[in-house]
């Protein structure tokens, strides 16, 4: 029987502020899990906990049955931060090359992988351009490309499609679905409701608490809503 890809049961405090309050989550391979919630609800902190750069104040995160943080598990995770963490003075290619080596992509495969992921985000012609000359949307796409470089089993993407135009967003989601069918677990945080509809399951988070988990249809049924947005609001997930 396959283990859950991610099992988390965490509480996170910064000083006296509780950011995440007993969030209990288990995610399987081959699903796209959407994390929905207003800004400041703790989405980003949860993603950081899952990829091992933050640690829980209480409880633990297990990735593929291994307690995080763990270096060999980090190899299997692709992470895309909410803020684009790129070296502006370097070209896109140099950024990719750097992160490819850090993530353990073999030297002889690097070039091929770089071109593959850049084609996925429609940036294959911008490889030699400096990142500081990129638009916001291009930086987002490059960050996504970097997260995909090492063929991770688990993708943790913090607002991956912000600032990306609709047609490219379609293409990226199509890629997500292809990856999922290959058994990759994808976790995305999002504000966009039509993206939420495309997730296999959704988690709604508010004030650090996971208030609902289920497939989009289940959540709509439970609350008698037509749209995810309505469902979200009736769970009390709206911005106060």
């Amino acid at each position: 029987m396959p283990k859950d890809a991610i099992e988390a049961n965490v509480t996170k405090n910064y000083g006296k502020t509780t950011i995440l309050d007993h969030v209990n989550l288990s995610l399987k391979r081959g699903e796209i899990f959407g994390l929905l919630g207003p800004s400041g609800s703790g989405k980003t902190t949860l993603v950081k906990l899952l990829c091992g750069i933050e640690e829980a104040s209480d409880g633990e995160v297990k990735v593929l049955d291994t307690k995080m943080p763990n270096l060999s598990m980090m190899k299997k995770v692709g992470y895309m931060a909410q803020a684009d963490a790129l070296y502006g003075e370097l070209t896109a290619y140099e950024n990719l090359k750097f992160f490819a080596t850090l993530s353990g992509v073999h030297r002889r495969d690097q070039k091929e992988r770089i071109i593959e992921v850049m084609q996925l985000v429609n940036l294959e012609n911008e490889l030699q351009k400096k990142v500081e000359d990129f638009s916001g949307g291009m930086k987002r796409r490059l960050s996504l490309a970097i997260a995909l470089l090492h063929n991770p089993d688990i993708l943790l993407l913090d607002e991956p499609t912000v600032g990306i135009d609709p047609s490219l967003r379609q293409k990226i989601w199509w890629t997500f679905e292809k990856l999922r069918s290959n058994g990759v677990l994808i976790l995305v945080t999002t504000h966009v409701m039509d993206e939420a509809e495309r997730c296999s399951r959704l988690g709604m988070i508010r004030n650090g608490q996971l208030i609902a988990v289920g497939t989009p249809d289940e959540l709509k049924k439970q609350t008698d809503s037509v749209t995810i947005e309505e469902a979200f609001l009736s769970f009390g997930g709206g911005v106060e």
Binding site: G52, P69, A81, A83, A85, L90, E94, T101, K130
Partner: protein, 337 residues
């Protein structure tokens, strides 16, 4: 592998950031050039050894300096190395003045004082002056020069290494890098090697310029100067990256300069170390520049070699290793493993 990736990335960043590269090399050169044109000497408290010298002259000299008799069988060279500024020997009818010589302002003061103390009215004196280190055409800047070369290399490496490590944090790339399986020590080592390579180039250019263009006094081997500046730069680099963990932004990093970098000048030998208050003098041996400047003066003024500077080099290396370890530890704040 991962270390190399960090090294290559840093070198690429340097190459594409021409202004920073220029700042690290050109700015110290400009300042050193200006200082070489500006500086002139000043006065100091002197310490003399005397032998075979008439009591009347000694009495005269005691008004201006601390004077101690020296046994006639003691070698003058070793006396001068024991913290004496000069030894006066009036035996056998000759009037000999042996100067320690590495500080031109002291040399001048000693010669003036000895002449005024031993001269009768309007009487010319044939003083035979010899120098253990240096010579009579050494300028004040020759004395300050080695310290300043060391200081400016330290200053710029500290600032730029610190700010660039800080920017990793503020632009989020540090977090992103730590989300990969890189180990903390690999990151720190990559930084040290990447910056170290660039620093080598920087030190070499500044040292070459100071010696061959500004024409600073240079008695020893150039290779040793390179070795010392490299070790000093390494300590600046590791200290800068370490302290950047305690700064939130570039401005706070700059605030470390008056606190951490500038005070090192006080103990570097630019000001006379003997006159520093006892409440403060213990700080000197805790600062990297203290050793770097001492070693640079040994090589450039006294022409000494590895036997006289290896302790300084070792201490500088020790500083760097300690700062690196502390930095690896400080990164725990961002990722425990």
């Amino acid at each position: 592998m991962r270390i190399f990736a960090v090294v290559i990335r840093i070198l690429r960043q340097f190459i594409s950031d021409k202004r920073t590269m220029a700042l690290m090399i050109v700015a110290p050169i400009i300042i050193l050039t200006m200082l070489s044109l500006v500086f002139n000497g000043e006065d100091l408290e002197l310490k003399l050894g005397v032998r075979n010298t008439p009591e009347s002259i000694v009495e005269q000299m005691e008004k201006h300096a601390s004077v101690k008799p020296i046994a006639s069988d003691e070698a003058i060279e070793s006396t001068l190395k024991k913290d004496y500024d000069a030894v006066i020997d009036f035996g056998n009818g000759a009037k000999k003045l042996y100067l320690e010589g590495s500080d031109p302002s002291i040399n001048r003061a000693v010669i003036n004082m000895v002449q005024s103390s031993s001269m009768g009215k309007n009487q010319e004196m044939d003083l035979e002056v010899s120098y253990l280190f240096g010579s009579n055409n050494m300028s004040s800047f020759d004395h300050f020069g080695p310290v300043l070369v060391g200081f400016f290399i330290f200053f710029f490496v500290f600032l730029i290494a610190g700010v660039s490590f800080l920017r990793e944090r503020t632009q989020g790339t540090l977090e992103r890098v730590l989300a990969t399986p890189i180990k903390r020590w690999e990151l720190v080592t990559g930084y040290v090697i990447g910056f170290g390579l660039f620093t080598m180039l920087q030190s070499a250019i500044i040292a070459l310029y100071s010696i061959y263009v500004i024409d600073l006094m240079m008695e020893g081997a150039f290779l040793f100067v390179l070795l010392i500046t490299l070790m000093l730069a390494l300590s600046a680099l590791t200290l800068g990256t370490l302290l950047s963990s305690f700064a939130k932004n570039e401005l706070q990093m700059i605030q470390f300069i008056p606190l951490v970098v500038v005070p090192q000048i006080f103990f570097s030998g630019l000001f006379n170390l003997d006159t520093i208050s006892n409440y403060l003098s213990w700080i000197g041996p805790l600062t990297p520049l203290y050793y770097g400047a001492d070693a640079l003066r040994s090589v450039m003024i006294k022409g000494q070699g590895l036997t006289d500077i290896w302790i300084d080099l070792l201490v500088l290396l020790g500083f760097s290793i300690v700062f690196m370890i502390l930095n690896i530890y400080a990164l725990k704040k961002h990722r425990r493993i």
